[in-house]
């Protein structure tokens, strides 16, 4: 079984029911956790497995769990929150897991909650994922009835309730601390860090926030062990990952592949290469807030450190392909418009810098660009970069811009000096 995350996802059925899920060992990981292992051992298994967060940052999951302060008799136990607010442009991986195999997520939540001794878990789901909400709601009822969720689950001394919160929408809700404010019924502005959520999160309690795909890995680690999990990866990172491709490729889609699968294999074998009549010009490896890479980077393995070394980030692992007939300057303008609109407005560099970025890019594509605008844009990528803002929204927004200025400078200059795109946009 080399595709644990998607083993229950089949073309001949809408989604995996509880019975389907049980047939492939479903909820056996939870049983093992609460009857044989204990919370600390579960943390250790996940640490040993080398699971890294699949939301984009790649933080060690077991390590994150172990940062929750140990309090043997807490007044208020910690919280577990599952980040199901998938809104990064170009990213469509969690939707599959949520819609097609909801019990996999619920088992993962129960195990993760047990590991940090949380008695309440929230699934923070983006409001637009209506089908996912319906299926999760039904799956939760089934899991409660079957005693996988609720008081003294599986006859253990551990009790857990899981609540589904459907969001009212805003990209910033995917940022961990903004998400917690949204759950508290406030505007989703990020919180200053430290303190980090694992120490003081939801209503001031220690809170672990994990991405959907991260949590979906957990049941399999418990069922088959850390060594098995590590063996799934092809390089330094452990496990498998949902990789995707969108844009002008022959077969846009999503595939579960080993960590460390070369980008070329994803784009050429799985996505079928470029559509007829189009050439690959570049790509964003993991969502809107990652740096462009070029065809020369096709042999880079998709894992956290190798993509970073190539000058970008693996991010969410869903590749956005730039073809030779799409103007990179206009593409960046589309991306920056998104970030400017979705800025929560809490801190100045982001609130003012992103609209300024949009204005400059718009001037350039509309023939009002000046040569010094390129320096101003480069200055903005530094001013809005890491360390100057409360959260990663603005630094993320600068990644496609700074790499476009580096790799597609000619395109910018053609607009400024000759008032036309390098190639006519289609």
């Amino acid at each position: 079984m080399d595709r644990p995350l998607t083993q229950n996802i089949r073309a001949d059925r809408d989604f995996a029911t509880l019975a389907d899920y049980r047939k492939t060992g479903g909820y056996e990981g939870l049983r093992k956790a609460v009857t044989d292992l204990g919370p600390k051992a579960v943390q250790q298994w996940v640490k040993d497995a080398g699971l890294r967060g699949r939301g984009g940052a790649g933080f060690g999951t077991g390590l994150k769990w172990s940062l929750v302060p140990i309090d043997p008799a807490p007044d208020h136990p910690p919280y577990l929150v599952v980040n199901a607010d998938e809104m990064e442009p170009g990213t469509f991986k969690d939707r599959l897991l949520l819609e097609k195999d909801p019990h996999q997520l619920l088992e993962g939540i129960a195990i993760a909650a047990y590991a940090i001794q949380a008695q309440t878990a929230y699934i923070f789901l983006r409001g637009e994922y209506r089908l996912a909400a319906e299926r999760l709601t039904r799956a939760l009822q089934e899991a409660r009835a079957a005693h996988y969720v609720g008081a003294h689950l599986l006859d253990s001394d551990f009790s857990l309730d899981i609540h589904l919160h459907t969001s009212a929408g805003r990209y910033i809700c995917g940022e961990e601390s903004a998400l917690l404010n949204a759950l508290e019924g406030k505007r989703a502005t990020p919180r200053p860090k430290p303190p980090f959520a694992v120490v003081s999160g939801l209503w001031g309690r220690p809170t672990v926030v994990n991405n959907v795909e991260t949590i979906c890995n957990v049941p399999h680690i418990l069922r088959h062990g850390a060594d098995w999990y590590k063996g799934l990866g092809r390089g330094a990172d452990a496990g498998t990952k949902l990789f995707g491709a969108s844009g002008r490729v022959k077969r846009p889609g999503l595939w579960e592949l080993p960590m460390g699968t070369p980008i070329r294999e994803i784009l050429e074998e799985h996505a079928g290469g470029m559509k007829d009549g189009y050439q690959l010009r570049g790509f964003l490896p993991g969502g809107a807030s990652t740096d462009f890479l070029l065809p020369e980077h096709l042999d880079v393995p998709m894992e956290f450190d190798t993509v970073a070394k190539a000058g970008s980030r693996m991010g969410t692992g869903t590749i956005i392909v730039l073809d030779d007939k799409t103007c990179p300057v206009r593409m960046v303008l589309n991306l920056e418009r998104f970030f400017a609109q979705e800025s929560c407005g809490w801190c100045t560099p982001c609130r003012d810098g992103l609209p300024w970025t949009v204005t400059l890019l718009q001037d350039i594509v509309e023939g009002r660009g000046r040569p010094e605008d390129l320096d101003t844009l480069a200055g903005l990528t530094r001013m809005l970069g890491p360390g100057n803002t409360f959260c990663a929204l603005a630094p993320g927004a600068m990644e496609p811009l700074q790499s476009a200025l580096k790799y597609f400078r000619e395109d910018f200059e053609r607009y400024i000096f000759q008032n036309r795109p390098l190639k006519e946009a289609v």
Binding site: E86, M87, E88, P89, G90, T91, F92, D94, R95, R126, G127, E128, Y129, R130, L131, H163, H165, T166, S167, A168, G169, R170, Y171, A182, L183, E184, G185, K186, R187, A188, L202, W203, G244, A245, S246, G247, R248, P252, G253, L254, A288, T318, I320, L322, D323, T326, M331, N334, L335, R337, F338, Q341, E342, C344
Partner: protein, 151 residues
């Protein structure tokens, strides 16, 4: 607020540590029954949750899916993010708007359709996509009018 709305809000209360946390759920519940959140509704919710109307207004205007103005019976959200844009989403959206004789954010004259932009809907492998009253409509083509309005 109606008795049903209050019952639905009360059902959410035990899931959160304090009453004000239910504000987003409450806005969504009222909107589900009335189509949008009027000033009167906003004040009623704020009173019920014991928070100031100003605070609730700040919340209501922050989130994309809370409407502070009336919308049509059918709300069409058209994705304007990168993958849909690359595959002609903007052109299709303009075509739809021309057909309905609306600008983004407006409601057609018969009160039936409101067209709104929305960020990435997480279906980029089926771009361009839109959402009609919450239901995903992928793989849009030049027949967008027929595909979304069934005309």
């Amino acid at each position: 607020m109606s008795a049903t709305e209050i019952d639905e809000i009360n059902a959410e209360l035990p899931h959160y540590e304090d009453k004000s946390a239910v504000s987003i759920e409450a806005l969504k519940i009222v909107q589900k029954h009335r189509g949008w959140v009027s000033d009167d509704s906003l004040t009623a919710i704020a009173e019920y949750l014991k928070i100031s109307p100003a605070q609730l207004e700040g919340v209501a205007t922050f989130y994309n899916l809370i409407y502070r103005r009336p919308v049509g019976n059918t709300v069409i959200h058209v994705c304007d993010s990168v993958s849909c844009w690359m595959l002609g989403g903007d052109r299709l959206r303009d075509k739809l708007c021309r057909h309905l004789n609306v600008k983004l954010g407006e409601t057609s004259q018969d009160g039936e359709y409101t067209v709104l932009p929305i960020v990435c809907l997480g279906a980029c492998d089926r771009a361009p996509v839109a959402m009609v009253n919450g239901e995903l409509r992928p793989d849009l083509t030049d027949n967008i009018v027929q595909e979304l309005l069934g005309e």
